[in-house]
Amino acid sequence: MMEGKVLEAVQISKSFHDPVTVQVLKDINFAINKGEFVSVIGKSGCGKSTLLYILSTMDTDYDGELLIDGVSMKGKKESELARVRNEKIGFVFQFHYLLNEFSVLKNVMLPGLKLGKYSDKEVEHRAMEKLKLLGIDSEARKTPNQLSGGQKQRVAIARALINDPLIIMGDEPTGNLDKKNSDIVFGIFQQLAQEFGQSLLIVTHDNEFAARTNRIIEMEDGKIIRM
């Protein structure tokens, strides 16, 4: 079922050339289907984050082919890739990266306003709904620095969801959180996958977290050893 593949990596390799050539990714091949909750694990330095940034289109310096929604990302212009990220990919990082100049609500709205698919009023309404879904709608008018770490990460998830992306990518999204907040965030991811059929690709070194996902991709020395 080709239509099911939201993201596909075909023979992706990457090398760093400074100061000596080191191949960090070797011949990566895999695909993620719609609605799958996938985790990528591996020791630190195994290339899992590097892979994620290639898959996210932010890193364009690689060999091989990346297909998002069946479209090749090779040779696209910077502004076109920005558009793809805006429309099809939602990000959650280890650090929340919220803009303190804006309210929580505005932070969630920004990618939606950038996409311009809905009117400003509608984007606001949708942002409010996402915040409600994550149980932080009461904090909408605050600025991010008035929130706790767990709340900030939930706002970041709401921001990732605003444009109903094809896939949500996470780079250690629970890395900075305590056990309780980690569980809350994991719960949210699981809910998104099960109830809304949201595809997720989460890089983590937390094996316990990974064990609870649909599928685990394990990496070692730039290669996939289990998927």
């Binding site: 932010m58 890193d59 920005a82 803009l99």
Partner: protein, 419 residues
């Protein structure tokens, strides 16, 4: 690119560091204020100094000069026709200073549309008789109304009324320096003697002060008919025709043309006063150089602050790019920030420049040399404000250009993974 969103983000970033932004804007304000005040003041001074000359100098002056005969006997010898001859023997004849056929020349000039106006004049060498001594002097016979219209004669008449020159027969307006020496008051009658020895009493109706002391000690004014009477000449006698043109820049060309056409000497203002133009030009150049330097310094301030802001907001820029803002969007955001600083600072600077000019305009500046000037001169030329405004935008754009490019090139991967 959504303009509203870009403006929105720019505004948020600007306000997040409003103190630095304000300092940058004040830099622009200060430089534009100084730029405008400096140019207005400098240009006001230039105009004043120029008007000292230009107001009182005809654009073209037609006159006769006593010169040796252009055609010397040797030129008539056929043998030396094609030689350059040095032998000159024929001295100037008793040629008259009168402009021949002056009535017809004036008639022709009055109908010429390149000519703004003309004023005939007679220059007469005289002696002012003071007790036993005679002082040399010059009486200018003028047509009072024309002289006032073209050369603002009334500005230099410091006491008495210039119109009396026309209305009182045999009257004179004395240069203030000459009057001082002669102990003459308004209403007194003084005696003058012409070079031919004729003597005539003239009634003092006013004093005149040009600002140039040497001139004030020697020159006096009388109506043209009075001077004709003094010299014993007929009513058509005129030694100078002063011409004001509609376009001063045409003076050299027209002087040549009129000189040939009317067979008289013609001197244009540019040739007569070339040093003034050079002075004005250099002063203006210096003012512009100082003003632009100020703006460039302000530009560096903006550059610094934007650079700092970009380092400060590296994370924000990275996440904006990660969530779908392109490099161009980020570039636009920082250009908007730079331009708003320029626009805000520039607008205040224009108002400040106007205020500073208005204040300088009120500062008393009294000098005997310039009877018509009471405060420092200011030129409220709107061009200075327009130039200042345009420059503030251009310099801030330039100052914002490189930091914005840098911001647009920030690699979100490096920033985000660096944490």
């Amino acid at each position: 690119m959504k303009v509203g969103l870009i403006l929105n983000v720019s505004k948020a970033l600007l306000l997040a560091r409003w103190k630095q932004t304000l300092v940058a804007a004040i830099g622009v304000t200060f430089s534009i204020t100084m730029f405008i005040a400096l140019l207005s003041f400098m240009s006001g001074l230039n105009d004043m100094l120029d008007s000292l000359i230009i107001n009182r100098t005809p654009h073209i002056r037609l006159y006769n000069e006593i010169q040796p005969s252009k055609l010397q006997p040797i030129d008539k010898a056929l043998d030396y026709k094609n030689h350059y001859n040095f032998v000159r023997s024929v001295k100037p004849k008793n040629e008259q200073l009168e402009i021949r056929n002056s009535g017809a020349i004036m008639q022709a000039l009055r109908t010429d549309e390149r000519v703004l106006g003309i004023a005939p004049k007679i220059t007469a060498q005289v002696f002012y008789n003071v007790g036993a001594i005679d002082l040399t002097g010059v009486i200018n016979g003028i047509e009072v109304d024309a002289e006032n219209k073209l050369f603002i004669f009334s500005d230099y008449v410091v006491s008495g009324n210039y119109v009396d020159l026309k209305n009182t027969p045999n009257s004179i307006i004395l240069g203030i320096g000459a009057a001082d020496k002669m102990l003459a008051n308004i209403g007194d009658v003084i005696q003058v003697t012409t070079t031919k020895g004729d003597r005539m009493p003239l009634k003092v109706v006013g004093f005149f002060q040009s600002g140039l002391q040497d001139v004030d000690k020697v020159q006096s004014y009388a109506s043209i008919t009075t001077v004709q009477k003094l010299l014993g000449e007929s009513a058509g006698y005129v030694t100078d025709i002063q011409i004001k043109l509609t376009d001063i820049t045409q003076a050299p060309a027209l002087a040549k043309q009129f000189g040939k056409l009317f067979e008289v000497e013609a001197l244009d203002i540019q040739t007569a006063n070339s040093q003034f133009e050079t002075g004005s030009f250099v002063r203006t150049l210096i003012s512009y150089a100082v003003g632009i330097t100020l703006l460039i310094v302000a530009g560096f301030g903006i550059y610094n602050i934007l650079n700092m802001m970009i380092y400060d907001k590296m994370d924000s820029i990275a996440i904006l790019k990660a969530t779908g803002f392109s490099g161009n969007d980020v570039n636009a955001i920082f250009i908007v920030i730079a331009l708003s600083i320029g626009l805000f600072g520039g607008t205040l600077g224009i108002l400040g420049g106007l205020a500073a000019s208005a204040i300088i305009d009120q500062v008393p500046f009294v000098t005997a040399a310039l009877p018509t000037i009471k405060t420092y001169p200011i030129n409220y030329n709107p061009n200075f404000y327009i130039i200042g405004g345009i420059f503030s935008i251009i310099t801030t754009y330039m100052a914002g250009y490189f930091p914005s490019r840098k911001a647009s090139k920030i690699d979100p991967v490096i920033t985000i993974r660096g944490k």
